[in-house]
Subunit: 298 residues, 2 copies
């Protein structure tokens, strides 16, 4: 039974009763659990985390998208975050027993169905992208609903992958659907006040500046602990795992005479990202497998 | 217009007229070209390289599979190479304008159709695999037709992804369909007789022994040129490109006081694998973009 995570983003961050309805629609599929939800009023946006067996999560995502299309009208939606749809983005993420290919198929099938049954145009992104220029979410989404509404009529570069080809849904806009690896938020705290060192290490290890594959990193000073921190998103733990990035940071710090104090996992991680000895090796603070390994929550 | 390559393998390497019929069936789709075919009598196997626009190549692959299922009977097929089907393996490979996600979708759609219309069971592999244990082709295929015919009836680990679930096709067996990156055969010749150095470098750079992502490598002595050669398959040029692997080999050779003589491309490469300066940088011998860049052949 392949397990997947699905993290749909909805353009509603102010009316909790709407998000309740969307979550209820998703959880009406037996075996699917919404293990997390968050709302942001200034972004006017909600993020829901669904987990369960792949086919069931695909059905739950469909029902959530349908509910959002009935409850949210993009024409009266305001918020700081760029968005193009009532359901804005829907990534599928492989967990235990699932491959990326399996999640890509879930994304493609969901997109086909959303286009056909709900008449909402769909763009595929990241691993599910059908066009190279749609791999990056911002390139698909940052035009925003209001501009896309016009552009879709005239600009072939904006033609949807599924659903109506030349007009957005009159209230629900369009939806971006795709597949990606699990995103792990991982921080390493250094035994130093020197935030410049944390920033320097962050720059060395992040992919953008020629560092490690899938690593996004920044340096911060933690006021409470009085320590410098390298704060990361580990975007492809199969390419660069927690052990690897920890070792790299340790080595760079040690070269400046600084030790690592501890590391921390913010939120959840998939089981496959933590080897038998990883938690000890990376000095993970207060790690609780029963609460932080996503598959253990099911 | 996304271009793709498709390289179906058929269990027929002795009767050219059968391979002719299969190729004719594929090329009956306008716009699809068979740019290469090879037959091996002892393996009793043929490999055909189709290129063209993605949807058309998908249609061509379907017609080739259908023709092979009419012309080849696995029950009387003998050959040294492991195989499970009349059409044994069908990989889709992204070329200019195509993503891996696009090729995965072509694979999944073809598999669904082959299962439904031809009643041939289908297993998905590599990037299109739906189960982690099916990513590796040998794990899916090396059981062979005769054993799989029984195993499919009793062993849930052998249940096909598409098509009939509990019995192979009576003559065409089963087919493995998937998506992968373009495989580039790339060799670097060293100015030395010392084959041990080539073998040592090969070991250092190949992925299997902790080297570079997607690199398979061996060391040889070239009798004609009297040079040692590092012979490679570059299996994921987006992870490790020709420049990168060349630089790595140059550096390892130079550390032993040896220079690189030249490199060679065996067969074709996709345009995206050769930057503006790559051919010069890697000292590519006799490179002819018009004949060796696959997109240029269309």
């Amino acid at each position: 039974m392949p397990l997947v995570e699905c993290v749909p983003n909805f353009s509603e961050g102010r009316r909790p009763e709407i998000v309740d309805r969307i979550v209820a629609a998703a959880e009406s599929v037996g075996g699917v659990k919404a293990i997390d939800r968050s709302m942001d009023a200034s972004h006017n946006r909600a993020v829901v985390t669904l987990v369960g067996e792949g086919e069931l999560v695909g059905e739950a995502a469909f029902r959530a998208i349908r509910e959002a299309s009935l409850a949210i009208d993009l024409n009266v939606h305001q918020g700081e975050h760029p968005r193009i749809g009532a359901t804005d983005v829907v990534p599928f993420v492989p967990l235990e027993g699932a491959t990326m290919g399996y999640c890509i198929r879930l994304a493609h099938r969901l997109g086909e169905r959303v286009g056909r049954e709900l008449a909402i145009p769909v763009y595929f992104y990241e691993q599910a992208a059908l066009r190279p220029e749609r791999k990056n979410l911002p390139d698909v989404r940052n035009i925003g609903y209001e501009k896309l509404r016009d552009a879709v009529k005239t600009d072939p570069a904006r033609t949807p992958d599924e659903g109506p080809k030349a007009a957005l849904h009159p209230t629900a806009g369009a939806t971006v659907i795709g597949a990606r690896q699990f995103l792990i938020a991982f921080n390493v705290n250094l035994k130093t006040h020197d935030v410049a060192l944390a920033k320097e290490i962050a720059k060395k290890i992040r992919e953008k500046d020629g560092g490690l594959a899938g690593i996004k990193a920044m340096g911060f000073f933690l006021d409470d602990l009085k320590l410098a921190q390298v704060s990361m998103n580990v975007c492809d733990y199969r390419a660069t795992g927690l052990d690897r990035v920890f070792d790299e940071i340790s080595e760079l710090a040690r070269a400046k005479g600084v030790d690592v104090h501890e590391s921390e996992l913010v939120g959840l991680a998939p089981r496959a990202a933590l080897g038998a000895d990883t938690a000890r090796h990376v000095k993970l603070r207060g790690f609780d497998a029963g609460k932080q390994i996503i598959e253990a929550l099911l």
